[in-house]
Symmetry: C3
Subunit: 239 residues, 3 copies
């Protein structure tokens, strides 16, 4: 199911038409029929990107619709659970808690219960000890004396805990992270996380199409601010 | 009508007084009586700047009030329709859709029907082919291999479609864009769009006063981050 | 009272568990039991930082809870009144007005009346004339011709009025300002305001711990964008 065939969407388009017939047409013809169907990024990935952008920007009005679309597009409830948790750290606790308020209603309506959700304590994915030690040493050297607490939780809670939870693949976790960074204009963190995303399996053409998709959901300026950084990452990886 | 004489405003000021008598006084004496009456920017322009800032920041609480003020200040329903559509692209789809939810209620209350709104399909303003070809070539060269989709839609949907819609003058479309950029801290895009705004007829003293007005609606830090870029644009155009 | 013993919190944690048992556990074990109890920043200061972050980001969902926590942690109603007013200028009027909507309900429930709030007109703290003249001269030289209005209100309303109101200590006013800057990614303004905060009595270890606290409430990326600037301020002051 694409967003265009969602049962509530005809109503939503009518509401948009009450204010802007042009926006209704851009929504149905350009965004939903055309952009969502572009081949360079799967509909499931577009759903992950969209949810990440909405939650990172606290745009809860559209969230019920896009949570349903995500579930219909093959994003599992367990993955949505992990996406919300991941964004508590990458977009802020209040954003995740606001998303919880919406998601639990959708989960209840679709009879998604506790047995479908990842437990609080799970067996972790194996840690790439060498890469993680290198990352931790760099951050400790740079910021150990600036904020010992940030350095501590970055290692212990983020990279030795959150990122190792198995119910969201590292590639998808990276997709969530990069989407949130572009969505909130956090250009400075894109280099590290886009490289990590591509190391985790996101292709260059997928990454470019993530930007196309995000242009519509977070606005052109956020995407144009990200593009020079993305370009630089692509160039350096190409060697 | 200034915002200060709006029928709901006495109530709003009383509510503010329940938490902060000082904020109520700054609101009535400094912001509404004084700033809105400053001569360097027309009340109609201030309404466009305010709406753009609120929609770009998804600040929907004040939107009903400021939509009514805008209509009273001479911003037409057709122009508001185009402002919302324009901001879908420059602030993100969810922001525009949230604004639709508010605006359709205001439009209904004021009996503004479909006949007052621009159609989805309109006769476009003439395109400045030379300037647009140059812009498109630069963007293609810079980012054609980073995100072909962004480059495609920037040309086909933004500059050869949205910007040519006639119901919002290019100067006002630029005013919306620049206001949204300052409101969301998108410093990197200000140089291009402020130059475009001034090419489209925004004067330097109006641009400076847009910053004064925005300081109150989007906070001093966004404006102080924009000022060095604005200064540089002014200097280069003078030089 | 820590946030964990708030009467509504058990419900809130149950709601989070409906979507993510992991997020509920991070919330109770890591954020509330551990981070809030860390010794480098008092619970009262953590409440000021949290309120500032929520208001600056317009995250009103959690605001009722954290307003109650702040009052329980020793932030007075008069101080909350001044924090909201201060953030009108440093995060934008609509953010302050949205906070008013929440705070007046909390104040009413706790029978906090007008007699506990600072008056609109108060006796100002003494002005450091030399430092303020220097600041005003620098801003006038840099931006006097860019936006005379911004320069005028920065001096007359911010530094010769708002900052001199006595019901929020300068050190706490600075804590609010720095928290809002980090919370909204306004990196460019951190140098001036962190120096001012430390001149006003915020210690280096408190400042580092403000970042730890904010990482959870505004997301890791905002904090990692701020850290190089904070590091530079610490180094220059030590040097």
């Amino acid at each position: 199911m694409t967003p265009f065939t969602s049962p509530d969407l005809a109503d939503a388009l009518d509401h948009i038409k009450d204010v802007s017939p042009a926006l209704a047409q851009y929504t149905s013809d350009t965004l939903l029929d055309e952009v969502w169907a572009r081949p360079d990024l799967a509909a499931r990935d577009r759903s992950i990107v969209t949810l990440s952008a909405l939650i990172a920007r606290d745009a809860t009005v559209g969230l019920p619709h896009y949570l349903n679309v995500a579930l219909d597009n093959g994003v599992s409830a367990a993955e949505i659970s992990e996406i919300v948790t991941h964004l508590a750290f990458y977009a802020g606790w209040p954003n995740a808690v606001a998303a919880v308020g919406v998601a639990r209603t959708i989960f209840a309506a679709r009879k998604i219960g506790a047995e479908l959700l990842p437990a609080a304590n799970v067996d972790f994915l194996p840690l790439d000890t060498e890469a993680e030690s290198k990352r931790a040493a760099t951050v400790q050297e740079n910021f150990g004396h600036v904020s010992p607490g940030v350095v501590h939780y970055t290692t212990e809670v983020l990279f030795r805990n959150l990122w190792l939870r198995p119910n969201l693949k590292p590639r998808d976790r990276s997709l969530v992270t990069v989407s949130a960074l572009v969505a909130t204009g956090q250009v400075a963190q894109i280099t590290y996380h886009l490289n990590r995303a591509m190391d985790n399996g996101l292709t260059q053409s997928e990454a470019g199409e993530v930007l196309t998709h995000l242009a519509f959901y977070v606005g052109w300026p956020n995407v144009f601010s990200a593009m020079p950084v993305v370009k630089d990452v692509f160039a350096k990886r190409a060697g």
